[in-house]
Symmetry: C2
């Protein structure tokens, strides 16, 4: 039985890597780097750089990048995600078959537990490998660290949600703090901004990190514009944000 | 002006430390280890061990442990926390004054942004130092990694809350997943267990890690008993859990 270790590598800053992540990279005979069609080569290269920083020149022999299928965005969202995960599992299986390695690692942005599908996809592999997870720094942690703010208010709950849910369902009842991930469409523009503050960040932990914060009412346009410009300049963007309701 | 770096060191496994955390420990002239009265010496020693693993014998000169005041648990909770934070800020100030160091680091369990008061306390220091934050692996991430499960369901929101809120407010509306922290009283016993599954973990990432999971209805007694026994055996316990509503 193969062993598959999902390694959370943080948000693009090689210094987000933990000692456990370094050890897991060293121990793997084969390191898979799934490459999304939408990703620009600098993002794919970054993971090779992280491997090389642990393994040195040996990284070239052990790292295997492979292309992920593209999600069909038409039709039902859940069904589209479902078929996409099947297709990804197939792509993983093919990549796993190319080498006679029994200890395999897969590098995951952020943490494999938070809005990442690797665990669900691993569950579709046949034969099923033995799965281990190495936690990594998430975009939310990189965001709060960069702004030097706490995520939660004292004894208060925190809601983590997606851009899609925020747009469809509005502000979650009873929440004073809402953290939003996977938002390609600035869903905060659909909220009544009254009484809300936003802390936004893109390319968190990386050299080109951008941070903006302030009352949502006065920051909305600036964040939308900054995001558009940065995305056009880099060809891609990874961003996340935190909203807090003022007391 | 002094620089104060809050370093998230994870949940007790030295391998949770990130490269950024290692660098911040190396760069600090003085490393503060706040010691809670309730903590047993093995927990205080663990942080010295982490420093020593980065600095070698030099750690002895740079590390300064100091006692934190104890929170007054009688009276209003928020007011009690408020006075406690004032008292802690005073203890920090005294510790900061003992050495002529300008670059100071403070080691924080988990991540300084999540149910930790260091950022709020740092804001009370006078003169106010320049604050930097190094994110660390939280107990929630150590929990999901150990169980090899995702935190969120696909496109679903996640609520992170405290034991106190879960006990007082019950299950948060609209949540399919609830992560609970700071729960010294097994507040899940106050919920109707029907349709709920629990993933529980104590001493996460450490040698004596304990994991339990299953339907809440059948796991409640076992978790309460296991927690009591482990706490009696070690003199302290750090635990956290995740609840999911079955579809």
């Amino acid at each position: 039985m193969k062993e598959l270790t999902l390694i959370g590598i943080g948000t693009g800053n090689p210094d987000h890597l933990t000692r456990a992540g370094e050890a897991a990279i060293r121990e793997a005979e084969l390191i898979l780097i799934p490459r999304k069609g939408s990703e620009k080569s600098d993002l794919a290269d970054l993971r090779r750089t992280i491997c090389a920083s642990v393994l040195g020149p040996e990284a070239d022999d052990r790292v295997l990048a492979f292309d992920l299928p593209v999600r069909d965005a038409s039709g039902d969202y859940r069904q589209g995600v479902d078929s996409w995960h099947d297709a990804i599992a197939l792509a993983w299986s093919k990549a796993l078959e190319t080498r006679a390695a029994s200890r395999v690692a897969l590098l995951v942005w952020g943490d494999p537990s938070l809005y990442d599908s690797s665990l669900r996809i691993a569950g579709r592999l046949s034969p099923m490998p033995k799965i281990a997870v190495v936690p990594g720094i998430t975009a939310l942690q990189a965001l709060t660290a960069a702004h030097a703010i706490p995520l939660n208010a004292i004894n208060a709950l925190v809601v983590i949600t997606t851009g899609r849910r925020l747009r469809d369902d509005g502000w979650p009842e009873a929440a004073s703090t809402v953290a939003v991930m996977l938002d390609g469409e600035c869903s905060f523009t659909h909220l009544d901004p009254k009484g809300l503050d936003i802390w936004w960040g893109a390319f968190l932990g990386m050299e080109n990190q951008i941070l903006l914060k302030g009352p949502l009412a006065s920051m909305t346009d600036q964040i939308v514009r900054t995001r558009q410009d940065a995305r056009a300049r880099h060809g891609w963007i990874m961003d996340t944000y935190l909203l807090k309701r003022r007391d």
